[in-house]
Amino acid sequence: MLALPAIPLLALACVPLVGWGLRRAPVMAPWLAALPAALFLLVLTTPDGAMFSLHWIPTLGVELAFRLDGLSRLFALLIAGIGAGVFLYAAAYLEGHPLLHRFLAVLTLFMAAMLGAVLADDLLLLFAFWELTSLASFMLIGFDAHRAEARRAAQQGLMVTVAGGLAMLAGLLLLGDAAGTFRISAILAQGSTLAAHPAAPWIVVLIAIGCFAKSAQWPLHFWLPNAMAAPSPVSAYLHSATMVKLGVYLLARLNPAFEALALWQGLLIGVGTATMLAGAVLALRERDLKRKLAWSTVVALGTLVALIGIEDPLAATAAVVFLLVHALYKASLFLIAGIVDKKAGTRDAMQLRGLGRRMPITAAAALLAGLSMAGAPGFIGAFAKDLLFTVQLGVPRLLPAVALLVNAAMVVVAGVVAARPFMGKPMETGGVAKDPAVALLVAPIVLATLGLVFGMAPHLISAAIIEPAAGAILGRPTGIALGEKQGGTVVMTMSFAALGLGLLMFLGWRRLQPTLAGQTWLDTYGPDAGYGRAMRAVSAVAVALTRRVQGGSLRGYLAANLALVFAGAALVLVARGGLALPLPGPWAGPAQLALAAVILAGALAACRLRALFGQVMAAALVGFGVGILFLTLGAADLAFTQFTVEILAIVLLVAILARLPFHAPDARRAPERRRDALLAAGVGAAGTAILLAVLSVPFDPFITEWMGKAAVPEAKGRNVVNVIIVDFRALDTLGEIAVLLIAALAATVLLRRTGKPG
């Protein structure tokens, strides 16, 4: 079954070819549409239930697994089919654009990722493709990067979908853990047992968040209209027909596993309904053609999510039909909006009038798509609408009323976008408004016509496409054939009521729109503004926090480090009752006591003195004191090294003292000094306590004694310290020499360039 993995991977492999080839030969761009067309055929001819799997990361249980069933076939056909139209359209739409090759390469990448996502049979593989689609969307929205609005929209879309995606990743990992596998088919085979798993609520909520973000559900819906900053082919392909449906796809895909959960149903129906309502109101309020269509897409996505939440064969069928219908008419309308924008020079629905006479073919295509959208009899949209009403009437409480309102709003949108611009007195357009080239018209016409064809001959898709897909959502065959009359007189009445109400609102839209647009609180307190506020707040908080943590003051860093390290070590000691005094050993002689006093006096003097020279002398006193102490404790080698180093250090320091200000006043204020004194005393005390504790336990002289014994016979040396340095631990000495060498080199490099001290 190599055809199956070939579908996404072939497309993926084409990405660099497209980028490279079209840069050299941009005239070949229209031919790229052959790729999705070929993939469409490949999807069509691959049998149901086809599987493919290859181990990818065995330690993680991740597989390169693909599977084709009714649901994924429907999606793959839409992706490749609409893709073919959009590629053709895009080549003409952006003809002559210097970055056409990059646009089409990213579009190809997107298509590959979409195909991969819907065909993947492994949760993590699906997630990988899922995030790739977000990325492609980011690059495509930001294609016109010179526009600030495009840059902002691209980033917003990415952030919302990536944030949702990460929540979803958490959910998917939990799901994989609960199910013991990442294979989707194996998870679905477990039936509804997963719904009873204790982690199920978490899984459901986290995955739903990801799907809601991707599919623009309220309150994460705000990014979608902003994404209309992208070129029209992108709006048609990504942001109405395919990518935004990916969330719907995953919800539908996992529905059999979780449909038994009340949480699942409540979440989907609740959020879906809220999304429908919000989208409908905002669609009525919008004047921009593309944004208006985007709001209506939000409505459609809400409808789909709610339908998946309703556990009923009819609902599953309604979801599939509506998904297909919406993809066809909405892609078509977006492409037409792109033509209108290009030819009439505006997308303002208030201004657009009377284009029908100059653009008759475009108008006809728009009419077909609009009628399908409005659910006119004879179009497949009518089936969808009847199914929707039938299902929604079955769910009491809010849904029927919402359905009525929302459907009426859709009629208005269809009218305003597909009819109004072409009717009435011709507007001033500067004379360029005419039907565009064939390449731009093919896709919208074909897509719109399909709505009529499927409406007239539903058997074409009923058993082959609709039923298998709906069955996959439901988890069992639906037994419903498209074209059977659904619902009764109530549905008929509702249908007509919606149509009537919609027509009424359409006629009054010129007055209705300004009233709605006047409700500025919808913007001020809407999630879009909230997103902006949140982003600014994140930056402000981050800057403030970072300034606080990294104040840039060495004193702060040092104080914090020393306090923490010594407090920690002392705590560890005290926690186990480690405070101890060593057994009385040989008492210190008077000479050693005097030395200790000298050392301490030197240390104190170094702290108190202000003159640099005095500080150096005080430090030298300490150094020589330590050296003599070594001498009295049987460490002659140490003592002499200490003396040598001390003399060198004094020479060095005195030599540079000439270049420094003679006095170095303490930079600290009095309270700071008090705090530092306390800290210094504490650290010193902690050090003393730990050292005493160490000295109070018996010593293990094993290694030392061996060295003493081995020095003469094995290393031929009588001074054991020297033997250790040059023989037993010669590597330490090598390192030590390296350090000296590097330090000397580095210091000369630094001092060579030193300018005059200020």
């Binding site: 840039g552 020393l562 702290c607 140490l638 180093v645 002289p701 054991v720 350090v739």
Partner: protein, 114 residues
């Protein structure tokens, strides 16, 4: 002896910390020097202070006199040299920083970049 030494080391550590926090490049150097004396004494003391005899193998070891532990001495020797090298470099760096920013304050003009 242990008590005297431990107290002395504690004093050295305290003075080192105090000087480090003084925010003047030169004081910081001296503070590190103090801490380095203390660290060396820590290691040295780790081998215990049982003897006054250097660890030389000169014929028979006299009964009752235990030579000092040679290993800590070797370690301290290495540590002294390394500290000297790094401190010398620090002095050079401090001089350069002073030359460039015109102040011996360790935070310089407090120019912040992030």
């Amino acid at each position: 002896m242990e008590l005297v030494l431990a107290t002395g080391i504690g004093g050295l550590v305290a003075s080192g910390v105090w000087l480090l926090l003084r925010e003047r490049a030169f004081s910081v150097v001296l503070g590190l020097a103090m801490l380095s004396y203390a660290a060396n004494l820590f290691i040295f003391a780790g081998g215990r202070l049982s003897a006054e005899v250097p660890p030389l193998v000169l014929g028979e070891v006299a009964a009752g006199t235990m030579p000092a532990d040679p290993l800590p001495q070797a370690l301290v020797l290495t540590a002294i040299v390394i500290s000297f090298g790094t401190t010398a470099f620090l002095v050079a760096l401090a001089l350069r920083a002073i030359g460039e920013s015109g102040t011996d304050h360790v935070d310089g003009g407090r120019e912040q970049e992030r």
